[in-house]
Every structure is written in C-alpha cells, then in structure tokens.
C-alpha cells in the first residue's frame, strides 16, 4: 500500500521529496521505463508505449517523445519506479489517483485531500504515527483534521 504524508515535516529526513514530477520523470524515471509502464500509460493517458522513449498519442496517432505524458501519469510512474522517494500528489487527476491508490508500495504528499472515488487500503503518516485506513470518509477526516 502507498503511504501518504500531509505535512512536509513528517517526511523522514532520509527520504527525498520531489515536487516537480515532470522534471523528475524526464531526467530520471524515463531510464527505467519497461513493460510495467505499458498498462499504466494506456489506462491514464490512453497512449501506447511503443519504445522506451516513445509513445503513440491517442490524439493525433503519431509517435511522440515520452515527455508528452501527462503530469499525473508521470507522477504515478515516478512512484512506481522510486518507491522510496516521496512525490507530490497534487497534479494527479482522479484516473491517476485510482491507479496510484492500488499500488503495493510508494510514498506521496499533499496538504489537502486527494482521494479517488475507488480506493484501496493506504497508510497515513503524521506526527502521531502511522496508521492504516481503508475507508474514504476516514481518510478524508484524517486529511482534514488539524495539521
């Protein structure tokens, strides 16, 4: 399950926080792209991965550089390939959140609630410790409670 932080200060000192998901993806994650990314790219962006650095766009049916993926898709792939870093969640649409919330590993941060309509069990970490939540309302309550 993914772990969610709502305060920057709760992120352990040995974990890097990444806010600019586009830049991180373009410079780092791209070199790890493999078969695992295919389904995610298709589900979120409706694009087809045709090689490590190319996608087939659903809009104009031409091959594009993989940097044209949406920020939400890049965020999900960042979390997938770098489960020990913490990534900003704020630029994920609901379709990206739904996939991310089903991951077995990964860490994300947002000060405000970003919860998909369909969610799985997640871990939340704040100064009071870590706990497991599998209910939408309970998760919203945790997020909205005093920081």
């Amino acid at each position: 399950m993914i772990t969610i932080f709502k305060n920057r200060k709760d992120i352990p000192g040995d974990m890097e926080y990444v806010e600019l998901n586009d830049l991180f993806f373009n410079q780092n994650t791209v070199s790890f792209i493999d078969k695992q990314a295919e389904k995610i790219i298709e589900m979120i962006d409706g694009s087809k991965l045709i090689s490590k650095y190319k996608i087939y766009s659903r809009f104009d049916e031409i091959a594009l550089d993989i940097d044209r993926l949406s920020t939400g898709c890049k965020t999900v792939l960042n979390v997938l390939y770098y489960p020990n870093k913490v990534f900003c969640l704020k630029e994920c649409g609901n379709n990206a959140l739904e996939i991310l919330y089903h991951f077995e590993n990964g860490h994300v941060f947002s000060e405000y609630a970003l919860i998909p309509f369909i969610m799985d069990t997640v871990a939340v970490q704040s100064e009071s410790g870590k706990k497991i939540i599998n209910d939408y309302e309970e998760l919203r309550e945790w997020w909205d409670s005093e920081k």
């Binding site: 806010e19 586009d22 830049l23 104009d60 920020t71 649409g93 405000y112 970003l114």
Partner: protein, 142 residues
C-alpha cells in the same frame, strides 16, 4: 465567483492538426479534470501565441524559481495562463488573483482554494476529432 472576462471572451488558435477554441464566461477559468485529457498540450499551443500576441502571459513549472505574484502584479490587460498551478500558486497569490481587476486568468489545476471559485469557474477540456484535426474546447465541469 461570477465576473465577466476582462480581456477576452474567446480565444482560438491552430497548431498543426489541433484547433484550440475556448469561450470564456468568467474572469477566472479553472481547467481541471482527469490526467491525460490534453490540458498541458492546450497550454503549449496557447504559449506559442505569446510570440505574436502581447495580451497573453503563460506560466508553468519552468517558472518554479520565479516570483509568480510579481510576474502577475506587473501585468495589465493580459490573459494569464498558468499550468501546474497547484504547485506554483501559494495562498497569497491565489488571493491576489481572485481580486485582480486588471487581468484575466486561465488556471490549469484542480485546487480552487483561495480563488473564491464557484462551480461557474470550473471547466474541463473536451477534445473532438474532426477528420484529421482535433478541436479542443472547454465545458463546465460536472
């Protein structure tokens, strides 16, 4: 918040096979929705128009190190288009935008906090295939 567009009520441009055709009904338009719908692509087509249209200012994550509020404060009579708004706009800048009576805004992001937005400000992108071309328009977000 309902307020008439200050700079333009219609923006259109063409980028190869893409046609951007946006009709604005508010001074602040927040463009939200799922990932991968083409919001950033539309942003890049509008940004291209900055080369010839002095009434457009585009801001995105490449301006992460810049003072965004200062860029906005120095603008007058512009359509200010902000991609990656959820990471670029702090609360103070959002409040400034909500009260700005000199510029118009197209904000690409999902967090309407401190923009005093109502559902009338919330829009999503619609793409429609027309032969080999794709038209991008906006409609109210449900």
């Amino acid at each position: 918040m309902k307020s008439k567009p200050l700079v333009m009520d219609h923006f259109s441009t063409v980028h190869t096979s893409f046609i951007v055709n946006f009709r604005f009904t508010n001074n602040i338009t927040i463009l939200m929705g799922d990932s991968g719908t083409g919001k950033t692509a539309a942003f890049s087509f509008i940004r291209e128009c900055m080369a010839v249209n002095p009434n457009i200012l585009c801001i995105n994550y490449l301006d992460y190190q810049s003072d965004i509020q200062d860029m906005i404060r120095r603008s007058d009579g512009k359509l200010i288009v902000i991609d990656n708004a959820d990471i670029l706009l702090n609360d103070d800048t959002r409040k400034y935008i909500s009260l700005d009576d000199k510029n118009q805004y197209l904000i690409i992001g999902r967090n309407p906090k401190n923009l005093f937005a109502t559902k009338e400000n919330l829009f999503e992108l619609v793409s429609k295939k027309m032969g080999e071309q794709t038209e991008l328009t906006i409609k109210e977000y449900l």
